[in-house]
Symmetry: C2
Subunit: 199 residues, 2 copies
DNA sequence: CCTACCGATCGGTAGG
DNA sequence: CCTACCGATCGGTAGG
């Protein structure tokens, strides 16, 4: 029987993944070297390969687990909220909160997904599509006429644009917090949604 | 007196910059090799260095000229439109149109600016800040109470999120065009802006 | 003496 | 878990 991994193994691997996400987010996947990551972790480069198969596997694990987290968030909200408006509000608030806690992982997901190979990239993109579909469904429940005009998904993408783009300008520790911005996004999007009319 | 450059020089350099922007946009700056660019241009790698000093200079020229184009667009709109609402509508429409024609350059601007060195990066970011300030001023003119609550710039960034994010999902040649999406963005943002209230 | 290029190869550094 | 390396490939430049 195979010997079990040491108690701290998973914990240390999580640390490596978190530091890798931070480096990938600030320097990009390609420009980040395994030596930089080893230095950040305080171990030798060879030790890194004890926790991940290779550099590519590092990227795959970061993106896959982040998408899985977002899908779990959607499932939680769908289980708790029945009304379309409350559901959409909860999705916005929960996603902005999640992005605040995982801003590096999220940046890696959006900018470095192109470096995954076809199979892994498709799996990640499929997860993203399920998340977008959940947002589009909530929007469609609020405005069936827009969904009928095939505008549910485009509107969901405009909403994602607002909240995804925050990681380029909203600094944690700055004067404006995620908690203060979230209700603004909700008011702006739900208010705007009421004003949109299909062609 | 120095002999002038050949008539086709600037034209060929523009071609090189356009192809470089396309490669940088799809593979990222670091992962793109000068050999790939040379192949795309149909010339030898050495010939590339006739048109640009080095790979870094390529990135600097692409980002600098794209930001300059956006600043020129802002100046045009400000000269033509006096009313805040018409001005903001014109800014949205003109920017979405510009992004459609320069989607590669825009992706490079947003994703690869980190590879510029400090001086060049600051110049590019300063240009971007002037563009954001123009959007924020138009928003503030429509809703002085929000500008008073320091929400002009955050709202401008949410708007930029919507229109910038389109390059991740809106494909030219697809069923939904920039021309059809632009009025939707205008309705959504201007309608939402009327619904937002400061804290 | 200039420009516009080519084949070949340099010094350094990447992932593993 | 480290030092010491490898095969390959990078950006940039030589002579002609």
């Amino acid at each position: 029987m195979a010997r079990p991994r040491s108690a701290g193994f998973d914990l240390q691997r999580e640390q490596v993944l978190a530091l890798a996400a931070q480096l990938f987010a600030s320097h990009g996947y390609t420009a980040t070297t395994m030596q930089q990551l080893a230095d950040a972790c305080g171990v030798s480069k060879a030790t890194l390969y004890h926790y991940v198969r290779d550099k590519h596997d590092l990227l795959a694990q970061i993106t896959r687990s982040h998408v899985a987290r977002l899908e779990a968030l959607v499932a939680e909200v769908e289980a708790a909220e029945r009304e379309p408006r409350a559901r959409l509000e909860a999705l916005i608030l929960r996603f902005m909160h999640a992005y605040e806690r995982a801003q590096h992982e999220h940046r890696v997901l959006t900018e470095d997904v192109k470096f995954l190979d076809v199979t892994e990239r498709e799996a990640v993109l499929a997860g993203q599509r399920r998340v977008v579909a959940a947002f589009a469904a909530s929007i469609g429940a609020l405005r069936p006429d827009l969904q009928g005009a095939q505008l549910g998904k485009p509107l969901a993408m405009l909403l994602f644009g607002m909240i995804n783009w925050t990681f380029t300008w909203l600094r944690s520790g700055g004067p404006l917090t995620h908690a203060r911005l979230a209700p603004l996004v909700t008011e702006l999007f739900l208010g705007g949604l009421a004003a949109v009319h299909p062609r």
